[in-house]
């Protein structure tokens, strides 16, 4: 199925969890400075494992960077 991650279309397997998606992208969950939203709703870090993505979901993965 297709999902969108940070605006990019990505082909992933059905019923993939957020945690699996992060694994696929080679990303580690950092306790500080890291957040994810799906369809504009923030998903708490404690729920990444149980959160199952659906076709067409829009995932935003952000971190903290320098800014004024």
């Amino acid at each position: 199925m297709k999902v969108f991650v940070n605006g990019r279309e990505l082909e992933v397997s059905e019923r993939i969890s957020l945690l699996d998606l992060l694994g696929l992208l080679n990303m580690e969950v950092k306790a500080f400075g890291f957040a994810i939203s799906v369809n504009e709703e923030v998903v708490p870090k404690s729920r990444y494992g149980e959160y199952i993505l659906k076709e067409g979901d829009k995932v935003e993965i952000v971190n903290i960077v320098g800014g004024g």
């Binding site: 991650v5 940070n6 605006g7 990019r8 992208l25 080679n26 990303m27 950092k30 500080f32 400075g33 890291f34 957040a35 994810i36 939203s37 504009e40 923030v42 708490p44 870090k45 935003e60 993965i61 952000v62 971190n63 903290i64 960077v65 320098g66 800014g67 004024g68």
Partner: protein
Amino acid sequence: MLDYERLLEEDYLEIGGKRFRSRLIIGSGKFKSFQENKEVLEASGAEIITVAVRRVNITDPTKENLLDYIDPKKYQILPNTAGCYTAEEAIKTAMLAREATGINWIKLEVIGDQKTLLPDMEETLKAAKFLVKEGFVVLPYIFDDPVYARKFEDVGCAAVMPLTAPIGSGLGLQNPYNLIFIKESVSVPVIVDAGIGSAADIPPVMELGVDAILTNTALAEAKDPIKMAVAMKYATIAGRLSYLAGRMPKRTYAVPSSPLKGIPYKT
């Protein structure tokens, strides 16, 4: 204890129930490296540093993080909503910032114009109202408008952050009277958030009674950001002390400093 430390012993900047010694707040954008940013932060004496929320590069996610360099236990991290053009975008960004940092402070920025980066006050106020209700400590970037400043205080903002010139312009103090009016119209801290170009721009602003200065570009674009950070630290202290000391009145004509009586050879 240094002279100025003794004189400012009881002088705190208080925001959202937290007390700070330094009245200089710095940004973390545009520095050459995280290491330079860290050294600038230490040299400036600032206790609050702004950060931004951005997408992780999904093709190269293993990059170093700014927060590997700046200890959030030691410094107050102030995430911003830079780049947002509507209340809705700013609210969503603030929610991500809170999840990312566990910090409920937000420097609320809702821009209305790409060229000048001036704030959209209507959208900013809308977002401020919502975020205060959501439990955020909201510090909005605003135009130097005393009427609007009061509206932001009324909806529960922890401070107001008027510009003195556009973001990144380095034009320095442009309208002292508006800042004076803002200081008179609100009781929350007034932090000048944009327009500072160098350390020399800070004392004239602080002398008006403004509570703190936020600056980023003037540090990052200085030839030597560390030296500028030290200069700004002392410029902020100088401006604060000068305000507390109270300036003499301005006069059109000269007034002699030496006695008029007893001048030698005068008949």
